[in-house]
């Protein structure tokens, strides 16, 4: 891509910078304010104002970038970062259609979530800090999207991880939150290390970190197959970690310990999408390794079905949404495995908006009923909080794939992509997953909002406007954005062709009808089970009680990990610790110290401290040198 320094490109690098500056301003002003005010609540609104202003500026600049991409097709600019030998590492940004779409998603969702957070986090004692890390996270995520080289991307990737860690553990006084933050950090760390190794492997093979250069080299066959495959696999493992793919999905449900807007922003719309985005970004070299693509597809499929099944049995509203997120991320990966970048990204956006809507709606519900999350203790909330209920329904329906909501279009596109790849078995299983996802969406929407209101919920009420306005905006978008898939005008050929000009907008009527039927069937089934109780859930459970139990215990994966940690990691750790104590500490460290000590003990006698000794030794040495000189001279 030619480097044309247009206005849009400059706007693009400003977007993350503003947020980073906002982070610094908030942190510094917090410190300074801490000196002058013991009661920091007086300055509480400063932080959200700074942070929201920054992200709003980012969102406005996003339109500039979008315009630029539409007119000129994007580009890249970069500057020197550091030069090591012959290698120069640069920091720079790279803007194309995929990244501009992500840019819009991230800035928009961040903006709404932050506005929503003013209402949700009101009165929290670390109010400013919350917005500071929000700004930091936004800066990191935007940098990750825009980075034009892998090292810079990795740098942002880790910062995103840090932001996620800080936000999950935001209520660190709560032990479970602290544990969840650690779990998320450590689990994604495994993927991050693999990603770093993959990046380094690619660097070793090509001598550069620049993504497009790597593509060129790889496409011209400059990288051996073994290296290429292993590095791509490692990069994919990194993406799996961040995107909570099986078997790294365990951290995401626990991450719901963070504040709900955080879940909406990070664990639904943006950060977890980073893995999908990374794979989409690296798609040109993924396509060079069909085996890896197959792995991507299989992992995505497993995740999709597994997480969907787990979402079906969870009773915690946020966990249901979390498993649903995992499931949809699996779907995106699956689609990427078939090479459908456009469909995956489209679903990413649609799902991001809808899931943000659902999470914010869930947050709104929890906010009004004393942070109750068990869906079985809710019911009939649509009378108490109608706006939340309606928007929630729209989001759920969208994800369930009801036409003409956005989810319908994106899911259809995904299915098409799988079909085009000729994976009929996968397609069949995917359709099962589609049914599952519609079913759990029906469950999570019907149980809390419909039915009769329990007594203890009668005092609940609609949230403040600062919280429901973002919900409405998201709901409208969630309903309407699906039409982007259609060729709306002569200049806009539809999403697929916009992202990838080789694709064209097309429809497969039987697939569309099949998915509509599946979704409707799931909804009706859910209706009859959860609202009408015409079908008893218990009977279904008793069909296969052990299977149900397995699902309820999340397939024992957490227990497996715990066992591995207890039996293998800790045992090995004890062994290493023993080695460290006995060999390294006692023998190597202490031993060298003792040997120095002992030799000093012997030789220190030479240091008498008497002028006499030193003087005599010096003079005799000089005499010896003189005699030596004579001997040599003669």
């Amino acid at each position: 891509m030619e480097s044309n320094n247009t206005l849009g490109l400059h706007a693009a690098w400003i977007i993350p910078s503003i947020s980073a500056v906002a982070f610094l301003i908030i942190v510094v002003s917090m410190r300074i304010a801490g000196y002058f005010y013991s009661d920091r609540t007086k300055l509480a609104l400063l932080a959200p104002i700074v942070s929201i202003t920054a992200i709003l500026a980012g969102f406005i600049l996003f339109w500039l970038v979008l315009l630029d991409v539409l007119n000129f097709g994007g580009g890249s600019i970069s500057m020197n970062w550091l030069v090591v030998g012959l290698t120069e590492i640069r920091w720079g940004i790279f803007v194309d259609k995929v990244s501009v779409a992500m840019l819009g998603l991230v800035t928009f969702i961040s903006l709404l979530v932050q506005v929503y957070s003013i209402g949700y986090m009101k009165g929290d004692k670390h109010f400013e800090w919350y917005f500071a890390i929000h700004a930091l996270f936004a800066a990191a995520m935007l940098t990750l999207i825009l980075a034009d080289n892998l090292l810079f991307l990795y740098f942002a990737w880790e910062l995103v991880g840090l932001g996620s860690y800080l936000l999950i553990g935001f209520w660190w006084e709560k032990r479970s939150a602290a544990e969840a933050a650690k779990k998320a950090f450590i689990t994604t760390r495994i993927g991050d290390v693999c990603l770093l190794i993959g990046i380094i492997l690619l660097f070793k093979a090509t001598g550069t970190f620049n993504i497009s250069t790597i593509f060129h080299i790889a496409e011209s066959g400059g990288i051996s197959d073994a290296i290429l495959n292993s590095s791509i696999l490692l990069i994919f493992i990194g993406a799996m970690g961040k995107s909570a793919q099986f078997p790294f999905h365990v951290w995401l449900p626990d991450a719901m310990e963070g504040p709900t807007p955080v879940s909406a922003l990070i664990h639904a719309a943006t950060m977890v999408a980073a893995g999908v985005y990374l794979v989409a970004r690296m798609m040109p070299i993924f396509e060079l390794a069909p085996e890896i693509m197959l792995i991507v597809m299989i992992i995505g499929l497993i995740t999709f079905i597994f997480a969907g099944s787990m979402a079906l049995v969870m009773s915690d509203i946020k966990r249901v949404l979390a498993y649903s997120t995992i499931s949809h991320l699996g779907l995106m990966m699956l689609c990427l495995g078939t090479g459908g970048v456009a469909a995956a990204i489209f679903h990413l956006i649609v799902h991001g908006i809808a899931k943000a809507l659902l999470f914010l709606g869930a947050g709104s519900v929890m906010h009004s009923i004393d942070n109750e999350t068990n869906i079985w203790k809710m019911g009939g909330l649509r009378h108490r909080m109608p706006i939340t209920a309606i928007t929630f329904f729209i989001g759920a329906a969208s994800l369930a794939g009801l036409p003409p909501l956005a989810g319908f279009f994106s899911k259809d596109e995904l299915l098409l992509s799988i079909l085009h790849d000729g994976q009929y078995v996968v397609l069949a299983i995917t359709l099962l997953g589609v049914f599952l996802s519609a079913l759990y969406m029906a469950r999570v929407a019907i149980v809390p909002f419909l039915g009769s209101t329990p007594k203890h919920l009668e005092q609940s009420h609609e949230s403040s406007s600062i919280m429901w306005v973002p919900l409405v905006i998201l709901a409208i978008l969630s309903a309407g954005i699906g039409f982007l898939i259609l060729p709306l005008s002569s200049t806009y050929p539809g999403w697929a062709e916009f992202i990838d000009p080789s694709h064209h907008f097309e429809l497969e009527p039987w697939l569309m009808i099949l998915s509509i039927i599946l979704a409707l069937a799931a909804l009706i089934f859910g209706w009859s089970v959860y609202l009408r109780k015409s079908v008893s859930a218990k009977q279904i459970i008793e069909f296969a009680p052990s299977f149900y139990k397995t699902i309820l215990n999340k397939y024992y994966i957490d227990d497996l990990y715990q066992w591995i940690i207890d039996k293998c990691v800790l045992a090995f750790g004890n062994l290493v610790a023993l080695f460290d104590r006995v060999v390294i500490n006692d023998k190597a460290v202490d031993g060298s110290a003792i040997s120095v000590y002992m030799s000093a003990l012997k030789t220190r006698v030479l240091q008498t401290g008497y002028l006499f000794t030193y003087g005599a030794a010096m003079m005799l040495g000089a005499c010896g040198l003189a005699i030596l000189w004579w001997i040599l001279l003669d």
């Binding site: 220190r604 008498t608 401290g609 008497y610 002028l611 006499f612 003087g615 003079m619």
Partner: protein
């Protein structure tokens, strides 16, 4: 006639005397005096070579110049050394070099 050997022997004797003083005396001020003796032994040697060498005038002037430098440095060294000894005396009430051994093992 005086010859260079005279100067050398005198210089050597004075140097040996000074060296013995540095090594054998225990009083810091006496050590200092012995060092002055050694420096003067060097000066005698320098002036001896300066007046007996068959060299250009500028080469022979080197001997004189060096003597001037030696005397200058001796003065500087002595100023510092006396200051050190006085401070030592104030802190330890002794200027015996054998008592100043806190830096040893």
């Amino acid at each position: 006639m005086i010859e260079l050997t005279h100067f050398q022997v005198l210089s050597g004797l004075l140097f040996a005397i000074g060296l013995y003083g540095v090594l054998a005396r225990r009083n810091a001020i006496l050590v200092l005096m012995s060092i002055e003796l050694m420096l003067n032994a060097v000066n005698i040697n320098l002036i001896g070579y300066s007046i007996f060498m068959n060299a250009s005038e500028s080469h022979r002037a080197l001997g004189h110049v060096l003597i001037i430098f030696v005397i200058t440095i001796a003065a500087a060294e002595l100023a510092l050394a006396i200051a050190i000894i006085l401070r030592l005396y104030r802190n330890k009430s002794s200027i015996n070099t054998d008592d100043i051994n806190i830096m040893r093992w």
